[in-house]
Amino acid sequence: VAADETDEQLMRRFQRGEARAFETLMLRHRTPVYSFLLRLTGERTRAEDLAQETFLRLVRGAATWEPRAAVRTWLFTIARNLAVDAARRQVFRATESLDATADDCERPRHAPPAATDPGPDEAAEAAQLRPKLEAALASLPVEQREVFLLREHAGLSFPEIAEATGVNENTVKSRVRYALLALRERLAAEGIVAAAAPRGGGAP
């Protein structure tokens, strides 16, 4: 299985019975899907469960998948819908989510820093910045957060996000915009970016 194969090629191979193709597909998307779910739900255990369920659904749905549908869009649609369903069953606990993500950022993932890592100052700065960014993201209303993550982290297009979230494209676009402006305000309040210059047309 070649690493440069498209998701769709891998999916075709998997449909033909090559489990390794699925493994490659999963390695490729595991971390993006998990990150998305963790930032959406704010709970590590839940994100992990949902990520696992997302891929299990991909396995189960593989037989009926047709090459017209982009695998990534499908994957994130499943993930998003699972998260929404889970959230319906249990209200998000915002405070816990902040703690969880902040804690997640402070702990280095691989203890011995590689030679290419930034210098101590830079690393320390980044280590301080990350929890703040995570917290800013977590402070967004969930409908803004999901479109922001789908657009900026998962790399889905506006029409794809519209399909995944079931709202129209214009709504998706305005949510992304509000998300960016709200994030900016939060970052400005934290002193991470310069305070916003007066701008015309606030968010209605």
């Binding site: 999963m26 930032r39 037989a63 203890a111 900026e152 402006l181 970052l187 210059a197």
Partner: protein, 347 residues
């Protein structure tokens, strides 16, 4: 001049979605319009800052259940693909209601013990978390004779079993090789009652190779030696994997989560690779232990990587008995030991 900023377009511009000509036109406008300039700057700057947020790595442990499911689905898909008639729907996880005698035969064969490797393990990888079917390093057996046999036996009776003899022969051959390599006598393929009607072979077909179930059963005995070595964690994990219980899937063995053997053309073990995690300051690092064995089966040397630093274990080290390059990471003196020894889980 003041106006409401063209928000949609400014967002597209900030996200880099506009055509070059459109982008230039809007940039030119924004340069002379304070409101648009401010909005564009705000969007761009925020985007840039947030882009510094790296993905959060997915924990390793949840992968096993999914990969086990993928492997089963793939095996079922491949088995279903072989017969000429349409693939039964149930193989992809639908209902079992439609399963006839032929379909049951596939199931019985698939769950009756460690089957030969499916595609996931064709590089001879054994992920412990995948449960019993993959726990035994499959070696050089042909891709899944059990699967082939199952597919063949599920053909409607009367259909010429084209190609159904090859798997039986190949399986036997593999048994012979493995028997030699492990010093275990190859078991005689005793006849096992077929759970489904055996395909009717043409009159000219050689009789002894007609029945497929013995061919499918043979690898079980053949793999027994290695399966035994892996038994405790594998058995524990198989229940978890099968149950698909997310909470129950923990890292079964820290130091050794995967074990893989490489063999030469004759089936002799010439290398073993173990992958796991090793405790380090502030967390855990990936651990890889690669052992190399000579033609006589003795350890030639090894490479141990914990995190990014490789540790070389040379022939001199081996000769001097320095076989524990890291606390708890113990090298096998011989290939036979590598195959038979149970995984050591904690330093």
């Amino acid at each position: 001049m003041t106006h409401e900023p063209r928000r949609d377009e400014l967002l597209d511009l900030a996200l880099g979605l506009l055509e070059p000509a459109e982008a230039r036109a809007l940039e030119t406008h924004a340069a002379g319009c304070a409101a648009c300039r401010a909005e564009l700057a705000a969007l761009r700057q925020t985007r840039e800052v947030l882009a510094g947020l790296p993905p959060i790595e997915a924990p390793e442990r949840s992968a096993a259940v999914v990969l086990a499911a993928a492997r089963q689905a793939a095996e079922a898909a491949e088995a279903a693909r072989r017969p000429r008639w349409a693939a039964p729907r149930w193989v992809w996880g639908g209902t079992l209601g439609l399963a006839g005698a032929a379909a049951l035969a596939v199931l019985v064969l698939r769950f009756s013990g460690p089957t030969a490797p499916g595609p996931l393990s064709d590089d001879r990888e054994a992920l412990l978390g995948q449960g019993a079917p993959t726990a035994a390093p499959p070696g050089d057996a042909p891709p899944s004779p059990a699967k082939v046999a199952a597919a063949e036996s599920s053909k409607p009776a009367g259909e010429p079993p084209a190609g159904s003899f090859a798997p039986a022969r190949r399986a036997k051959q593999a048994v012979g090789i493995r028997g030699d390599a492990l010093g275990v006598a190859a078991p005689a393929p005793v006849s096992v009652p077929a759970p489904a009607p055996t395909p009717v072979a043409p009159a000219s077909a050689p009789a002894p190779e007609r029945a497929s179930p013995p061919a499918a059963q043979a690898p079980r005995a053949e793999l027994a030696a290695e399966a035994k070595a892996m038994a405790p964690p594998a058995a524990k994990m198989s229940a978890r994997a099968a149950g698909a219980d997310a909470d129950a899937v923990g890292p079964p063995c820290r130091l050794e989560q995967r074990r893989r053997f490489s063999r030469d053309a004759t089936g002799r073990v010439v290398g073993r690779v173990r992958e796991g995690r090793y405790p380090a300051e502030g967390g855990e690092v990936p651990l890889t232990v690669e052992e190399r064995f000579g033609p006589d089966g003795r350890l030639l040397g090894a490479t141990v990587r914990a995190g990014d630093q490789p540790l070389m274990v040379t022939e001199a080290d081996v000769a001097a008995g320095r076989l524990e390059p890291l606390p708890g990471v113990v090298l096998a003196r011989t290939a036979a030991e590598a195959v038979s020894v149970a995984p050591r889980c904690e330093p």
